[in-house]
Every structure is written in structure tokens, then in C-alpha cells.
């Protein structure tokens, strides 16, 4: 059975979008967060792997790391006009929290990429990261 990567909760948050993202482990969770982010803005399957960007972010805990990661994706979308199809992630523990090194593959926003909506911010509203057994679940509300 294919594991569900994310679920859009469409009966709540009228002006925004609420999603649940799942991961087999932390790295998988980041990959799926990247996937749902891109799929809300465009159709993730249509994004080409033409451009590679490496980013490194840190966070005191997993929640902060996820928040910083999403804020970085928003920043890159708005300034480099780039969306990503997938990425490779390496999570390490550092003295005061976590460090995430990722190499993201994607393309510049162009006319042949169907744009669905814009993600402008990750809100703190209902923002939650849970560890369920060995798996992870993040609940995110995006301002769109």
C-alpha cells in the first residue's frame, strides 16, 4: 500500500488552506512538506528538474526547523521565482537543536507551469508537529 504523503483539509479555514503532512522519518517529512508546498502553488508533477539549489537551515526544535524551511521556500519563490519538485535532505543534531542541509531540484516559474495559488506565509495557527510511533505528522495552515 502506498503511504499517503499529505492531505488537504478542505472544510476548515475558509480563507486559508490547512494540510496534514506525513513522513516515515524526519527527512521524509521534509520531502513531503516540499511536495505539498509545490502542489498547492502549481502541479508538482509538472515541475521540471532544471535548477538545483542547496540550502542549510537550523532550528531549536523540529517545529522551528519546519517553519524556517517553509519560510525559505516562500522566500525563494518570491525572489528567485523558483519552485521545487523534490529534494534530498540530511538532518543533523547540533548543539542547540537541528540543522537541515537540503539540495532542492526544480525550475523557474514560467508560462508553461500552471499556477494554482500563492502561498504567502505559514501561520502559527494550529501549527503542530507530532511523532506518532516512528512516523511524523505536521499540521500546517498556509496563508494563501
Amino acid at each position: 500500500m502506498v503511504q499517503q504523503k499529505w492531505k488537504i483539509i478542505d472544510n476548515q479555514n475558509l480563507a486559508d488552506i490547512k494540510v496534514e503532512v506525513y513522513g516515515k522519518n524526519e527527512e521524509d517529512l521534509f520531502g513531503n512538506i516540499l511536495g505539498v508546498f509545490t502542489d498547492i502553488v502549481t502541479e508538482v508533477d509538472k515541475v521540471k528538474e532544471e535548477k538545483e539549489i542547496a540550502i542549510k537551515i537550523t532550528g531549536k526544535n523540529l517545529s522551528e526547523l519546519i517553519s524556517n524551511f517553509i519560510n525559505k521556500l516562500i522566500y525563494i519563490k518570491d525572489t528567485s521565482l523558483t519552485l521545487f519538485k523534490k529534494g534530498k535532505f540530511r538532518l543533523t543534531f547540533i548543539e542547540d537543536g537541528y540543522s537541515l542541509y537540503s539540495v532542492l531540484l526544480g525550475q523557474k516559474i514560467s508560462r508553461n507551469l500552471p499556477i494554482k495559488t500563492d502561498i504567502k506565509a505559514l501561520t502559527l495557527h494550529k501549527f503542530k508537529v507530532e511523532r506518532i510511533g516512528k512516523k511524523y505528522k505536521a499540521t500546517l495552515v498556509f496563508d494563501i
Partner: protein, 477 residues
């Protein structure tokens, strides 16, 4: 009494309800007729109660007729914080700082525009970029951006030659929120804002060509430049783009990091707040003012492009076309104002004092001030004026739009954008949208009836309707 989702609401006035206070917080008042009240989603009441429990509030927490659930505070919330002992909450101002409306007149009539509407809409779609990734015509250096966000619209007009000096007096706070400080804005906010000046954005932001459908108050309408039925006007709804979103994001993070210093308990992290006199709050207010000025400048630059497009299509100057600004009013803002505190025994009822009014998805409604309430792109919009009652009951505030009844995700499932586009065309509304999905999200059925909202705020005395407009052309992100 009305019972909704376990909340008891007592009618205390015309289109005015108070939620039974069994939650230990400020009074919670809703300005809406019962038919709108019952259309509000449960989260509105839960979120409103969370707001009413914030520390430092003076007077009641107010929910407007167009309210719908948001994050932290519902869209359509007004509350006042004590200017000395209160708190400031970036989340309760919202991400899109000074998202707002502006209305521009023309002396054209629908019959003159009808055959040119497609040409005009196509040209406007080129002149006013909408959607994700499109850049605006206004290229500025960092130094110029600093001056724009610190000095507001007057700098745009005087230094860049964009916009009309006569517009300035028709903008809330004359297009400049005092106290803006570029050093309180992060590099990320500046980077996001640089290429987004003079762009509409996405979501519920739009540029709409409308015709006057009905004049409700002839004298007031004439005073504001609305002369006859079928006259063409232009309405713009947009905000501070990535600049404002980043300012909010940055300060939410800073406030949350220092939350333990403030010794407050919150029901929702999105409502995180800091004492008004703390350094964090001062810096946020300086950054918020910069973002608010970015939004004023953005709407003025968009107006410049709108005037150019009309000049090109109609072969007359914008002055000849009498493309005057009726007003530009903010929705999402925190402002120090002096107010009579609405009667509330628990919280200084009846006093007049300086407060920090937070308006999220709500419009300032001072006596005589134009109020612009935009409906869905399928229905229509209203021009109103503020009233003395709004000063007494709602910290000089009123509603801002029609308010969603359905999530964006659900609306997209119910109609395809292309089908909606065809339907609107058959109704005489020409639309250009950056995305079909974005168009579907804004379908008329996803919103409350705008006339019901105006009826509620008018019955409650918060503002007086002047004219009603119907859309004939729309551009959205």
C-alpha cells in the same frame, strides 16, 4: 436569544448581539442580522473568544457582519488595547498589512465602455501584473524603497512622478502611517517587496471595472464623485504583498521567542503579543507602518497604470476622464486612536481614552469618511460613509467585504475556473485571471450576499450606504 455552536448570543441592539460571557474575557459583540450570524462558521466564535481573552483589552471585542474564520483572529475583528498597559498582536493585524480598497471615478458611462471592455481588461492585465511571479513596472533601489516606505505616497508622487498629488488627501492617513522605520524591516521583507511593487498579487485581490447600479444617497454620492447610474468606476483590492507578509512572519517569530518574558497565556499561538511599550512591540509597529506605507504606494502605483490604460483605450487624458480617487482605506492595521469606550462595565465603559485599535479584515469608519466594501466578483460592491454610531459602538470601525462561507479548496471542487469564466462572460462580466484555480476560489457562491452585510452594518449604524456598483470587468491573480 440565539444559540450557535454552544454559544449563547443575546440581542442587545439593532443587528447587534453579545456572546454570553462565561469565558473570563472582554465582552464579545457581533454586528450582524440573524440571517448572517447563522451563516458564520463555528471557528469564528472560537477564534473571537480567544481574542476576547487577550490581556490589555479595553472595551469589547467586536466581530463584523462579514466575519469568517481566519488564523488567530477571525477576518472581521476589531479590538482596542490600552495605549499604556495593553499589548500589540501582529497576528491579529494579519499578514497582509494594510490590505485595502481604493475607488476611482471616471466620467465614462457603460454605453461608451461596453465595446472596449475586452480591450481595456486585456491592457490592464498587461499593465497591472497579477498572480505569482509577475514583476511590476516600478523599479526602485533599496534607498528609494526605504524612502517610499518611510514617507509613503507623497514620496512616490514628488520624487518618482507617479500618481497625482491630489490623490494624497483622499488616502487614509494621507498615504503615510507615521513612525515607519526601514531598520525595523528584515532583508527578507525588502527582497520580497522589491520586485512586487505595483503588482496586484493573488488570492482575493482584484482590480475591477464597475458600473454604478444604484445611487442610495444622492447628495453624498455627488459629493464623492458618483453622479449617475451606469457611470464607470474602478475598484482595487490589494495590500503590502510579500513585504508585509514577511514583516508579520518575522515579528510573530520574535514575539514567540520572547513570550515567556511577557507572562501571558494564549489559546492560539497566532495571537502572540507583546506589551505596547516593549522594544519588540515598538519595532513591530515601526515595521508594520513601513509595510502599510508599502501598500499605499502599491495601490497608488497601480492607479497610475490604470489611468494609463484608460488613456490609451479612450484617447483622452486621465484628467479629462475625471479619474479621481474617491478614497483609499486600509483593512489590516493597528493604530493609536482616541475613542469613547463602548459601554462595558468590566472594562472602563464610557471613558474616552487613547487605545491601539487592531482592525483585521475591518475598515475604519469615521464620520463622513468614505468606506469601500467589496463584494464577490460576481455580485457587486458598495460605497458607504462612516458614522458617529461607529465611533460609539465599534471604535470607529465597520465591515470590509462580503465574507467567505466556503473554503477556497471546496470552492475549487465545486466549479472549474474556465466554466465560471464563461458564466460570468454571459452575465456581461469580462474576466482575466492569472489562474483558473484562483478564479474558481473566488466564485460568488463562496461568499455571503454583500447586500446582507451592508444591511447589517447599516442597521447597526456603523456606516451609511451611498451607492451600489456591479462588476463589468475583473482582473484577478
Amino acid at each position: 436569544m440565539v444559540n450557535l455552536y454552544g454559544f449563547e448570543l443575546n440581542k442587545i441592539g439593532e443587528a447587534e448581539y453579545e456572546v454570553k460571557n462565561d469565558y473570563q474575557g472582554s465582552a464579545l459583540r457581533i454586528f450582524a442580522e440573524e440571517k448572517l450570524l447563522t451563516k458564520m462558521d463555528e471557528e469564528v466564535f472560537i477564534q473571537a473568544r480567544n481574542v476576547a481573552q487577550l490581556p490589555g483589552l479595553v472595551g469589547p471585542t467586536i466581530i463584523m457582519a462579514d466575519a469568517h474564520s481566519g488564523y488567530g483572529a477571525p477576518i472581521g475583528t476589531v479590538f482596542a488595547m490600552d495605549a499604556e498597559e495593553g499589548y500589540v498582536s501582529p497576528g491579529a493585524v494579519g499578514y497582509d498589512i494594510n490590505c485595502g480598497m481604493r475607488l476611482i471615478t471616471t466620467n465614462l458611462f457603460y454605453a461608451e465602455l461596453k465595446n472596449s471592455i475586452e480591450k481595456l481588461i486585456n491592457l490592464l492585465f498587461d499593465y497591472v501584473p497579477a498572480g505569482v511571479g509577475r514583476k511590476g513596472f516600478l523599479k526602485v533601489s533599496r534607498e528609494e524603497l526605504k524612502k517610499l516606505v518611510q514617507d509613503g505616497v507623497s514620496y512616490l508622487v514628488s520624487a518618482k512622478g507617479i500618481g497625482w498629488s491630489n490623490d494624497i488627501r483622499h488616502i487614509e492617513e494621507k498615504g503615510k502611517i507615521a513612525g515607519a522605520d526601514f531598520s525595523s524591516v528584515s532583508k527578507e521583507a525588502v527582497d520580497r517587496g522589491m520586485s512586487q511593487l505595483a503588482t496586484l498579487g493573488s488570492g482575493n485581490h482584484y482590480l475591477e471595472i464597475q458600473k454604478v447600479e444604484k445611487i442610495i444617497n444622492k447628495d453624498l454620492a455627488k459629493e464623492l464623485g458618483i453622479k449617475e447610474v451606469n457611470q464607470i468606476v474602478v475598484m482595487v483590492h490589494c495590500g503590502s504583498r510579500g513585504f508585509g507578509h514577511q514583516v508579520c512572519t518575522d515579528y510573530l517569530r520574535i514575539f514567540e521567542r520572547h513570550l515567556s518574558e511577557f507572562k501571558i497565556v494564549l489559546n492560539d499561538r497566532q495571537l502572540v503579543c507583546a506589551p505596547i511599550h516593549s522594544q519588540y512591540a515598538k519595532e513591530y509597529l515601526a515595521g508594520m507602518a513601513a509595510a502599510a506605507n508599502f501598500a499605499f504606494v502599491n495601490r497608488e502605483a497601480i492607479t497610475y497604470q490604470i489611468r494609463l490604460a484608460f488613456e490609451k483605450v479612450f484617447g483622452k487624458s486621465a484628467e479629462e476622464l475625471e479619474m479621481n480617487l474617491v478614497y483609499d482605506v486600509a483593512h489590516n492595521m493597528a493604530k493609536f486612536e482616541e475613542h469613547e469606550i463602548p459601554n462595558n462595565l468590566k472594562n472602563n465603559g464610557g471613558l474616552k481614552k487613547k487605545v491601539l485599535v487592531h482592525r483585521k479584515g475591518a475598515t475604519r469608519s469615521f464620520p463622513g469618511q468614505p468606506v469601500i466594501i467589496g463584494g464577490s466578483m460576481e455580485t457587486g460592491s458598495y460605497l458607504l460613509v462612516g458614522s458617529g454610531e461607529a465611533m460609539k459602538k465599534a471604535f470607529g470601525s465597520t465591515a470590509h467585504g462580503s465574507g467567505r462561507t466556503m473554503s477556497r479548496a471546496k470552492a475549487k471542487k465545486m466549479v472549474h475556473g474556465q466554466k465560471l469564466w464563461q458564466k460570468m462572460k454571459s452575465q456581461g462580466i469580462i474576466v482575466r485571471s492569472a489562474s483558473w484555480a484562483g478564479l474558481a476560489e473566488e466564485a460568488g457562491f463562496a461568499y455571503k450576499n454583500i447586500s446582507d452585510v451592508v444591511e447589517s452594518i447599516s442597521s447597526a449604524g456603523l456606516s451609511k450606504p451611498v451607492a451600489y456598483f456591479r462588476p463589468v470587468g475583473n482582473i484577478k491573480g
